[in-house]
């Protein structure tokens, strides 16, 4: 089956800055596709090119059968987007914003009322439906923005940082609604810098950094692909000298050691159960008291670290 979205050397330059650099991606129909990267990685720019708001400098993208550079009007009939920053006129009310959005998307008046009511109730905004958005918190505005896409139910739904500024209960509710949207037939593109969100929601994840695609696969496969399938996080009483890190790397079955903080090491290894006693023994020998030790499976954070050499927080700072 042909992919529903295909980018071919998709590139966007703003002056000398290359925001998206020859991106080649294929997104299958009906999947939740996680688009993961720190702020400024080029995620939103890519999405704005897909929705034909900005034009690629080089290359192109296909939304369904339509080339976004040649048939942008047709491409937009298949795709809808909930933006990272809510795009709302603040004097409007949630009901007006959503009802109008549904109208522009071609919903009948009965269907419109039904869906707007449903979305407002599900997102906990029903009592505020006739209040001016001006007085809303960031999270409430974000929920109105998300509601647009839930009402529109486009063939391809883009959600950019859907749960930013939303509390944990709201996050789970929105995740369930995104899954339900997929189950109803939409393909979802989820842009996020929250690794856990990408992990729990996505069928496949693409990691993008500095405009370049680093890797793209199912979260499980990405995690399994890291050399050293287990991770041990060790917090020490004092700062770890680099010499100690190097000595640690020499221990058999340890694949990599990363200092995530001055006194915190992440050790990537195989057969952690067997190596763990040797690690504790090592720290005792070098007189480095251990504060805590934790063993886990690799996360997407580890995948990100593996491919960029940086944690997502570090990448964001740069």
């Amino acid at each position: 089956m042909a992919p529903i979205i295909r980018t071919v050397n998709l590139t966007k330059k703003f002056g000398s800055l290359v925001a998206v650099d020859h991106l080649n991606l294929e997104i299958e129909e009906g999947e939740i596709f996680g688009f993961l990267g720190p702020n400024g990685a080029g995620k939103t720019t890519t999405l704005l090119m897909l929705i034909t708001v900005i034009k690629p400098t080089e290359g192109t993208a296909y939304v369904g059968p339509y080339d976004v550079t040649r048939e942008p009007d047709k491409a937009r009939t298949l795709i809808g987007m909930a933006f990272q920053e809510p795009k709302l006129l603040w004097v409007s009310t949630p009901w007006d914003v959503l009802d109008w959005h549904a109208k522009v998307c071609g919903l009948s008046s009965e269907e419109r009322r039904k869906r707007v009511r449903w979305a407002l109730e599900e997102l906990g905004l029903w009592n505020e439906r006739h209040k001016s958005i001006h007085g809303f918190s960031g999270g409430m505005r974000k929920r109105v923005e998300i509601a647009k896409i839930l009402i529109q139910r486009p063939k391809i739904a883009i959600v950019d940082e859907p749960t930013a500024q939303i509390d944990i209960v709201g996050k789970h509710r929105i995740w369930n609604m995104i899954r339900a949207l997929r189950d109803e037939g939409s393909t979802i593109i989820l842009a996020t810098n929250e690794l856990y969100e990408a992990d729990v929601l996505s069928d496949r994840v693409a990691i993008i950094h500095k405009g370049k695609l680093l890797v793209c696969d199912a979260p499980k496969k990405l995690k399994d692909s890291i050399l050293g399938g287990d991770v041990i996080e060790v917090v020490l009483e004092k700062e770890v000298p680099s010499k100690i890190v190097e000595e640690l790397k020499a221990i058999n079955r340890i694949v990599d050691v990363l200092a995530v903080k001055p006194n915190c090491l992440k050790i990537y290894l195989n057969q952690a159960e067997e190596v763990l006693p040797r690690i504790t023994e090592f720290f005792m020998k070098v007189h480095m008291p251990v504060k805590s030790i934790q063993m886990s499976e690799p996360s997407l954070d580890d995948v990100f670290v593996h491919y960029t050499g940086l944690t997502i927080e570090e990448a964001q700072k740069r």
Partner: protein, 258 residues
């Protein structure tokens, strides 16, 4: 779908306009107050050889002024949408760019007409009071059509300017320049005979082909009988309206290129 989409865009902008209904009512009241202050002050100051009754002369001019200012307001909103990236949302909607552009141009003009209507009614009442002339239905239709063309052109012009910059300061400066040039070189405040005798030829030419002059003088032609009706003025307005509606549509298409 095309007509529906244009109507939806218009609906949004007109609803937005009515969210400020008390502000609009206040502005209309101020314009009416301006008109009556002018009536008292200027009618006695202006040389009657130039303008017989300045109050009656100025009333259609003030109607055009109010129409222009109200129709120009849409540009300020478009520029605000650019600055807050709301334009990304508008450009992402499943409608064609030209539908979006024409919807906004038409909404701007309809808002101008709504804002102007109390002033037009006052103008009709004043001219009837002073001249005992009331335009025939055809003449009234022509006046409204004329004003509609002025409103379309103005709305298109303001949207085009708004889309040309992301800076509010630049937009305000451009708006100021357009206001001053168009009002100064026009027959809104003074008749063409005065312009011809006091301004250099290039400014006289601007005043003659200025859509605000054409709009004001066409209204005066039916309300006061002077200057006489001219088909060329109507054509001038038609070109102004069409040109800036197309420029606004082109500007919306170009908005994607950035």
């Amino acid at each position: 779908m095309a007509v529906k989409a244009v109507m939806h865009i218009m609906e949004r902008d007109i609803r937005y306009f009515f969210r400020f209904k008390w502000w609009v009512a206040g502005m209309v009241s101020m314009n009416l107050a301006d008109l009556f202050i002018m009536a008292v002050v200027y009618t006695r100051m202006v040389n009657p050889n130039l303008v017989v009754n300045y109050f009656v002369f100025f009333a259609p001019g003030l109607t055009i002024t109010a129409l222009f200012a109200a129709a120009f307001m849409i540009g300020r909103e478009v520029n605000m949408e650019i600055r807050r990236d709301i334009i990304h949302y508008m450009l992402s909607l499943p409608i064609k760019r030209w539908e979006l552009a024409f919807g906004r141009v038409l909404a701007g003009s309809v808002r101008g007409l709504i804002y102007m209507s109390p002033l037009l009614l006052t103008t009709l009442a004043i001219t009837y009071l002073y001249t005992s002339v009331f335009p025939s239905p055809l003449e009234l239709f022509t006046i409204i059509f004329t004003l509609f063309l002025v409103a379309i052109g103005t709305s298109g012009l303001s949207i085009s300017l708004a889309l040309s910059t992301t800076s509010f300061e630049k937009y305000i400066t451009m708006r100021g320049v357009v206001y001053y040039v168009l009002f100064f070189c026009s027959t809104v405040f003074y008749p063409m005979t005065l312009i011809q005798s006091s301004l250099p030829t290039p400014l006289v030419l601007i005043a003659r082909y200025n859509p605000l002059s054409c709009g004001a003088d066409l209204s005066r032609a039916f309300l006061l009988g002077t200057p006489p009706f001219s088909f060329w003025m109507l054509l001038d307005l038609g070109i102004f309206a069409l040109f800036f509606a197309l420029v606004a549509a082109f500007a919306y298409r170009r908005a994607m290129q950035k």
